[in-house]
Symmetry: C2
Subunit: 85 residues, 2 copies
């Protein structure tokens, strides 16, 4: 987990923040199960799709792949409710 977080913070997060239309990121971790949920919010569906079609998303996955015990699962959702703070 620590090695994953180091690469995430140093190599993935800074680039992610520069992506067109990126509206936010939440990284959820559980050290007991070893499970990580990385949630990225996008301004539009097109922004999300661009992050995948450009190869950006798969490039970021590749950086952390060696720390993962299983293939990452990608899911896409509509943000139906968002109330933070």
């Amino acid at each position: 987990m620590d090695e994953f977080l180091k690469v995430y913070n140093e190599q993935v997060a800074p680039l992610s923040q520069q992506q067109q239309g990126r509206a936010g990121t939440v990284l959820l971790t559980n050290r007991d199960t070893g499970k990580v949920l990385s949630v990225t919010f996008w301004g539009t569906k097109e922004d999300m799709e661009s992050s995948e079609s450009s190869g950006f998303y798969s490039n970021q996955i590749a950086k952390v792949a060696s720390f993962l015990a299983a293939d990452p699962v990608t899911e896409r959702y509509d943000v139906t409710v968002q109330r933070i703070g």
Copy 2:
């Protein structure tokens, strides 16, 4: 999905916002898969645990249970990164 959202918005969300220590809510939905992720952020681990031990959490699940095709899965995480907006 629509019935679920109606009950969620009218009967679950208003009560959730009044819970001690609640720091935010994100509801993610996918109409293609029918999958819903309800993410609640808490100020402290104790606030999260209280929402479960008080019966609040199971009471909210009970309200929407009839709209679910499978038993809901509950997972708990640390918020390692949170950048919204």
